[in-house]
Assembly symmetry: C2
Homo-oligomer: 212 residues x 2
Amino acid sequence: MQTFHNLDESKQEQIINAGMRVFAIHGYKKSYMSEIAHLAEVSKSTLFYHFKTKLDLYLFLLDTAMNEIMDSVNDESVYSEKDFFECVKIATEHKMQALRKRPSLMKFLTKFYFETVPEVEPYKLEYLAKSDQMRSRLVFEELDVSKFKETVDPKLVMDMLHKWTEGYMAILDKNADDKTDQEISEFYDQMIVDFLNILAMLRINFYKPEYL
Amino acid sequence: MQTFHNLDESKQEQIINAGMRVFAIHGYKKSYMSEIAHLAEVSKSTLFYHFKTKLDLYLFLLDTAMNEIMDSVNDESVYSEKDFFECVKIATEHKMQALRKRPSLMKFLTKFYFETVPEVEPYKLEYLAKSDQMRSRLVFEELDVSKFKETVDPKLVMDMLHKWTEGYMAILDKNADDKTDQEISEFYDQMIVDFLNILAMLRINFYKPEYL
DNA sequence: ATGATATTAACCGAAGCGGTCAAAGGAGGT
DNA sequence: ACCTCCTTTGACCGCTTCGGTTAATATCAT
C-alpha cells in the first residue's frame, strides 16, 4: 500500500476504479481479486504486491471513497444560495461531477454499509462518524420556499427530484457494465440537460407569477 | 420440474421467490444453489430433487417470470383511458401490484438480459420476442395532451414520472436485502401514496384552468 | 403394513478462491 | 556492458466451496 502511490497515476486510477466497481457490484465476499485484476488490466500478483491481502485493498478503497465524497460535499458554494431551484441546481451539478469522475463510488459505499461479513464490520462505526460530519441532507431545510404557490408542496418537489436522479442513476447502473467511460460521461451530460429542463418547467409552473 | 407443481403452493412460492431474488442480486454464475435453498428454507437436495440442475431451475424461473409479467401488462383496462394522469395512474398501480406480489421479478429479468454466461445466451432471443409483444411503452403516445398548459412538455413529464418510479425502486433495491416481505409491501404502499400525491400536484399546476 | 413421493445429511470430484514464490522485465547509475 | 532496485508476472499451493449424487429417512394415502 505504500508502494501503490508511486505508480503512474493512470494505473492507480485503473485499479481504484476496477476495485470499487467490482466490490460495488458483488459485495466483499463475492468479489474476487482475479476479477478486479482482470478489469484493471494487471495481473493478480500485482494486486497482492501493492496490497498484502484482499481486505487491505478493500479498506484502502473504503478510505479513498470516504475522503473523496467528503471533499466533494463539503463545498461552501452550495450553502450560500437560498433560492430553491438555484440551490438544487448547484448541489446536483456538484454531485454529478463527483460521480462522473468515479461512477461506482456511491454504490460501493452503500454496499459497504450493508455488508454482513465480519471482516468489515468493525469499520462501520468509523464510517458512520464520518458521514455524520456531512450535513448534505440538512441543507435544504433552511431554503426559501415562500416563492411557491400554495398548491405546491416543497417537500414533495424535493423528494420528486431526488427520486428522479436516483432513477436516472439506476438506469445507468443497469447498462453500465458494457459501456465505455466515454459513453458514461455522455450519459451524465444528457442527464444534466434533462434535469435543467425539468427544473425550468417546474419553476415556471410552481412559482408565484411575481417571482418569475 | 414435473414434481414441483404437486407441492404446497406456499412452498412453491418460497422457492420461486428465493430463486428469483438470489439470481436477481448475484446473477447466474455467482448464485449458489445452497444460498437459494437456505433462503427458501429447504435443503439443497430438495432443489436438486425438483430441478435436475441449476440451469433447469433458472430456466423455470425465467419462464415463470415472463408469463407473470405478460399477464399483468396485457390488461386492457390501461388502454381505454385517455386522460394523461388517469392513464398513468392506472398503469402504475397495475405494475405496482405485480411487483408487490413478486418484488424481485423485474430485477431478475433485467439481470438475465445482461447475462454474459454462455448457458443462458440462447434464451435471450425468445425473451426479446416475448417482450416485443408487450406494447406497454407505446401506450402513452396516443394520449390526450391538449389539456396541458403551453409551458409544459408532456414528454418531459412522462420521463420525469418514469425516472421517479425507477428511483424509488432503486432505493428499495439497495435496502431490500435485509427487509422482510412485509416491510417491502409497506414500502410499495408508501410509494403509491407518494406517487398519487405527486400526480395530484402536477395535475393542478400543469393543466389549463378550464380542465380542473 | 406397503408402496410411492418428498426430504435430508453426508458425501464426492472438480473448480476456483486467496495468497506465495521464483524468475523475469525495465529504468537508472557506474 | 554490468549491477541494483523496484515492479510485474505465470505457475503453483492448500483450502474452501461449488454443483451434483447417494443412500437413508420422513410423510402419507391406501
